[in-house]
């Protein structure tokens, strides 16, 4: 890989970490669990790597590993988003009951 690409990737990394700190540091305790499971779902972004790996595999081993990689990443993504949504739906309901009270 040429050094410029490498620098470019590190540049992105540095800014993203900074952005991550900025975005999360003020979240109220109430939302810690959904935030965690939501960001957990985002870490399923490795699905992108898994898709490329499974779609371009040439050996039998790579194919098997690729299918497992896609499946596990997909569990992370689908399960993570659905579970987070389920939790947040309850929070929303609460906001409505609160609204109705006022």
């Amino acid at each position: 890989m040429d050094p410029m690409t490498m620098m470019f990737l590190f540049f992105i990394l540095a800014l993203s970490i900074f952005l991550g700190f900025e975005l999360i540091s003020k979240v109220p305790a109430t939302l810690h669990t959904p935030l965690m499971s939501g960001s957990n779902a985002i870490s399923g972004i490795t699905i992108v790597g898994a898709l490329i790996a499974a779609g371009t595999s040439k050996t039998a081993l790579a194919t098997v590993l690729g299918v497992i990689a896609v499946a596990t990443a997909m569990i992370n993504v689908v399960g993570g988003y659905l579970v987070t949504d389920r939790m947040l739906a309850m929070f929303k309901k609460k906001d409505q009951t609160q609204g109705a009270k006022q």
């Binding site: 992105i12 952005l19 700190f21 965690m36 957990n40 898994a50 050996t59 790579a62 689908v78 609160q98």
Partner: protein, 457 residues
């Protein structure tokens, strides 16, 4: 414009949506939309990736179908009380995926440049530790394995040796990746073992920290996988998750007044057995449900302090019902939530939200403590260490210095508990022996149901 341009353009949009989604998840009103936005970002990234030329789809489809079905089933069927272990499992599967992406990249091109080789090494290592670490965390949280710290003699030496071996093998592998397939496989194996060994010495009460940290790892593993395939979106999203996990870890450590190193390595709660007897002693005053009813009936202000026991007893709905009855009876009802109550950050908030406890009744520790002295009755449900006054009073207590909810300052404290067993810190709670404390033994849910029945008569 070729397809690579459009794919990368989509990745930029996805990155922006991920960031926006995370930002919106920071406020209760917009959180659900934020999560949806982040899911859309994921969809965009996946579709863009599928447009990569030369992909053969049949294996992809197989993996996607298996993963989606399993993920959907898991998300639909899990009970809210089992949320911590669910998050741990999902986290583990993400870690495994990152490990596999690294492995496949190496398998297909063993002679890749040094930078890629190092990235493969990192994604396999972090992914492996995340995977088995999360599985062990899942086991501990669901009580499939003992949630007590597991310690043995020479544990630190064994762990250090494994870390050293991983580093050494990594050096061998990075210097000559083509010839070192067996070293690479050893690295995978040792990473998996390290994940297990790193989490088993950590006790159940410290799980909020561990889950946050593993969450951070899974982001970093995705990040490393991003360097392997030189993909921006993996690096951005992975770094966002990595950073958020680290922040949560910090918040949790601060809430326990302990350093991360202390949480990870001290085997907290296992060495304190001999101290427990030296601590609080005296007479325990127990209380019948009927007496508890009279106390609560007369109370003007009541604070519920839930802990992990509430989740175990699945008592969140009955507690909410009791809270409503008390409110109708004229009492002011509040819920005081300690930051590390339960098994993951915000665990109690989720359970009470499930039971429809109104938002304005939930108080954080710092908000409730100044009010404690004016509270008539504090009801502790399945919480222990987070209300132990030893954290304020006893200098040699393992939890000394940990911020607690000062229930002991309330006029009367009712503690709902199964037995006199210690909390996860393994120390006796001197609160139980206080003048103003009354113990109400039994299953929390059954006890509260009886209380509700008393009120209805």
């Amino acid at each position: 414009m070729n397809s690579i341009f459009w794919i990368n353009f989509s990745y930029i949009i996805a990155a922006v949506l991920f960031a926006l989604g995370l930002k919106m998840m920071g406020a209760p009103a917009s959180a659900r939309k934020g999560n949806a936005l982040s899911a859309i970002a994921m969809l965009i990234a996946v579709i863009a990736t599928l447009l990569t030329q030369g992909l053969s789809y049949h294996w992809i489809i197989l993996g996607v179908v298996i993963g989606s079905v399993l993920g959907t089933m898991a998300a639909r069927m899990v009970a809210m009380t089992a949320m911590p272990e669910m998050v741990a499992l999902l986290n583990g599967s993400g870690g495994l995926a990152s490990l596999l992406v690294g492995w496949i990249a190496y398998d297909m091109e063993p002679g890749a440049p040094l930078f890629t080789t190092i990235s493969v090494y990192l994604s396999v290592l972090i992914g492996g530790v995340t995977f088995t670490g999360s599985v062990v965390a899942w086991g501990k949280l669901s009580e499939k394995i003992s949630s007590k710290p597991f310690l043995y003699k020479g544990q630190k030496i064994v762990n250090s040796l494994i870390v050293a071996a991983i580093l050494l093998l990594g050096l061998l592998y990075c210097l000559d990746p083509v010839a070192q397939y067996s070293a690479f496989l050893m690295i995978i194996l040792l990473s998996l073992i390290l994940g297990v060994l790193a989490v088993i010495p950590i006790g159940g009460a410290d799980m909020p920290v561990v889950i946050s940290l593993l969450n951070s790892y899974s982001g970093l593993a995705a990040c490393a996988a991003g360097f392997v395939i030189q993909n921006n979106i993996l690096i951005v999203a992975g770094a966002l998750v990595g950073a958020s996990g680290i922040i949560l870890t910090q918040i949790m450590c601060k809430a326990m007044n302990r350093s991360l190193a202390n949480v990870l390595f001290s085997g907290f709660g296992s060495v304190t057995q001999q101290q427990s007897s030296a601590g609080a002693q005296g007479e325990v005053r127990s209380l019948s449900v009927e007496d508890a009813f009279y106390l609560l009936e007369a109370a003007q202000s009541v604070v519920f302090v839930p802990g992990y026991g509430l989740a175990v007893a699945q008592a969140q709905h009955v507690v909410q019902e009791l809270a409503q009855i008390l409110e109708r009876n004229g009492a002011e009802v509040r819920f005081a939530i300690h930051p590390v109550a339960g098994r993951m950050p915000g665990h109690m908030n989720v359970l009470l939200a499930e039971a429809n406890v109104p938002y304005d009744q939930l108080f954080e520790m710092d908000a409730i403590n100044p009010l404690m002295e004016s509270i008539d009755v504090a009801v502790v449900i399945g919480a222990n260490d987070v209300v132990n006054p030893a954290a304020r009073n006893t200098k040699d207590s393992p939890i000394y210095g940990m911020p607690i909810i000062n229930v002991d300052k309330a006029k009367t404290v009712i503690v709902l508990k199964r037995s006199m067993a210690t909390g996860f810190a393994g120390i006796q709670n001197e609160l139980f022996f206080y003048e103003n404390t009354r113990m109400l033994f039994g299953d929390a849910k059954a006890t509260i149901q009886t209380l509700i029945a008393e009120f209805k008569n």
